[in-house]
């Protein structure tokens, strides 16, 4: 398991009218500002994504021209749970997610690749998840 730190979570909400079109407008603003983003998710009235914490002032400035409201939560971490070919083990992905939720950490986002599960949370939450997952799946050893 690894923990990567130094991220910020951006929530853009209260987009009105054609929300799909408005989401694109927000993404165009971010593109024009040269901002790289990860973990893009749609919410009912907007979208959320992860940025490098150092980009937060740039994002704040860029989003002043966007519609709706936005909020930036700093101090986010990404927990990486490495499990080669986790899709081969039926239910493994759900089992790890269940353990991460049970740790009590507030999880912002989930993502997966062929060899890892990615969990976005606070710095404190990352340590909680790491401890729980190591205890449950790795016999206490990362």
């Amino acid at each position: 398991m690894d923990i990567r730190t130094g991220f910020a979570q951006v929530q853009v909400s209260d987009l009105e009218g054609d929300v799909s079109q408005e989401r694109l407008h927000v993404l165009a603003i971010l593109r024009d500002a040269g901002i790289s983003l990860d973990f893009l998710k749609f919410t009912p009235t907007g979208l959320s994504f992860l940025i490098s914490e150092t980009e937060a002032p740039k994002v704040t400035a860029a989003l002043t021209s966007a519609k709706g409201t936005h909020q930036i939560d700093r101090g986010r971490s990404v927990v990486l749970v490495h499990a080669v070919n986790m899709r081969d083990e039926e239910g493994l992905l759900a089992e790890v997610v269940s353990a991460a939720i049970s740790s009590g950490a507030a999880i912002d986002h989930l993502g997966d690749m062929h060899d890892r599960l990615l969990i976005v949370t606070s710095a404190e939450g990352a340590n909680l998840i790491k401890k729980t997952v190591i205890g449950q799946f790795l016999g206490g050893q990362a």
Binding site: S20, L27, F42, R87, A94, E95, V97, M113, H114
Partner: protein, 450 residues
């Protein structure tokens, strides 16, 4: 010794003509100075007389209500590869090249004891080496090994390796024999930028990294099993995907250090999915975590393969393959979860906007017991996931905008998104799959990919 492992998939051994073409590939390698080690899959794909599914069907048709034991299933389905290996070895012999068939265990492949999805724990290829020294071509059954329990039982137990097992056999033998290359022969020319059924002239990639090909496989394109790519990556074995029936050089799969640089690799699509969105807004804050964990625990227990997992302040969501959906519906519709904490609540899960008879009955029975809260699971049926795969590309500003704008321009609704370092995926209506794949293929100029 210059070993080359050559793995032939089901279509490459399906007919006498195909086996002849495959055998000529082996003979050509031998004539070029290599020591070929052949790995074969079962003959033909679904529906063929000796294909894995057909053999499994022989057990099921005895009485569909009685599930065969995993051990017996492994013994049965391993026969497909045994037939195939013996026939292939004899084909080589008839062409003047001595060959010998080996079961997985005879080839020295040891596994753990998980029937149906065993993992290789070690390979001692002494019999294969001896065979090569005698200038005899070994033909090994893919997809199988043997579990030796250590309790004194003679012979050990035959096990199968699960999905993509023959690719894994090829890569693992390549590692054990320190092969100069592992070649996976199939009926396509290599790793394509998209499914040729959707993009007729999708080019064959000449080079990709192990990570890219594993991600491509993870997101739906079944050209090579990710486990095989992982093994080849770990032992730094050059891996090739080639067509048995074409002279195309195929795709070389290498370490990312040997193939650096930013690039878009391809577009994939998964099968049919159903998206489930759980509305947890009614749940007490102290109950919410327990409900979320309970749902995921249940999905784990019943072996669901989840896609597009999503958590939001008002609920959770994920997609399940359509063939697993009826099981999910049976489990979740009418599910009752009583929770205590700041206050006692009884949560009743309802699949879909309207309550089923089961949910209505549960609600009547539970109402007198306390505060009943209904968790509605909104369904989006008939969807699929299309994915873009790239190397050092997804982090570029504007990629999301370009991908989503292209779909928007073609009026393809995007229900949810998901991404990783190597990929960007969108959940879309299944009816739009072909258009979406083509739109992205054009938008990211994948026709020019090499």
């Amino acid at each position: 010794m210059k070993v080359k492992v050559m793995k032939f998939g089901g279509t490459s051994v399906a007919t006498a003509e195909a086996r002849q073409a495959s055998a000529m590939r082996v003979i050509s390698a031998r004539e070029q100075g290599f020591d070929p080690v052949v790995v074969v899959s079962a003959i033909g794909r679904k529906g063929a007389p000796y294909a894995t599914d057909t053999l499994l069907g022989l057990l099921k048709e005895i009485d569909p209500t009685v599930k065969p034991d995993a051990r017996e299933i492994d013994l049965m389905i391993a026969c497909g590869e045994i037939f195939s290996a013996v026939i292939f070895a004899h084909t080589l012999k008839t062409l003047g090249y001595p060959a010998k068939a080996f079961r997985g265990g005879q080839a020295g492949i040891r596994t753990d004891g998980v029937y149906g999805n065993a993992r290789i724990v070690g390979i001692n290829p002494v019999a294969l080496r001896r065979c090569l020294e005698e200038e005899v071509i070994p033909v090994v059954c893919g997809f199988q090994g043997v579990f030796v329990s250590g309790d004194g039982s003679p012979g050990g137990e035959l096990t199968t390796l699960g999905r993509g097992g023959s690719d894994t056999t090829g890569a693992a033998l390549g590692a054990a024999l320190k092969a100069s290359a592992v070649e996976i022969f199939t009926d396509v020319e290599g790793v394509k930028t998209a499914d040729p059924d959707y993009v007729a002239h999708a080019p064959t990639l000449r080079r990709v990294s192990y990570e890219e090909v594993a991600e491509i496989a993870h997101l739906g394109a079944k050209v090579l099993h990710p486990r095989a790519a992982e093994i080849a990556m770990k032992y730094d074995i050059p891996l090739w995907v080639k067509s048995t029936f074409s002279s195309d050089v195929g795709t070389e799969i290498v370490n990312k250090e040997k193939f650096p640089g930013r690039r878009m690799t391809g577009v994939t699509h998964t099968g049919k999915l159903v998206y489930l969105q759980f509305d947890l807004a009614l749940a007490q804050p102290d109950h919410r975590i327990q409900l979320e964990a309970h749902v995921y625990e249940m999905m784990a227990k019943y072996g669901f393969s989840l896609h597009m997992m999503n958590l939001s302040p008002t609920g959770i969501g994920f997609a399940v393959p359509r063939d697993q959906f009826s099981i999910a519906k049976d489990l979740l519709d009418g599910l009752v979860v009583p929770l205590q904490g700041e206050g006692t609540s009884i949560y009743l899960f309802q699949v879909g906007d309207l309550p089923s008879r089961e949910v209505e009955t549960q609600a009547k029975l539970l109402a007198p017991l306390g505060a009943l809260k209904t968790i509605v699971i909104e369904l989006t049926e008939g969807c699929t996931m299309v994915s873009l795969i790239g190397h050092e590309y997804m982090q570029q500003p504007g990629v999301y905008y370009a991908a989503l704008a292209a779909l928007h321009e073609h009026q393809i609704p995007v229900l949810q998104t998901s991404d990783s370092e190597l990929s960007l995926s969108c959940l879309i209506p299944e009816s739009e799959t072909a258009v979406a794949v083509k739109v992205w293929h054009d938008c990211f100029e994948l026709s020019a990919a090499t």
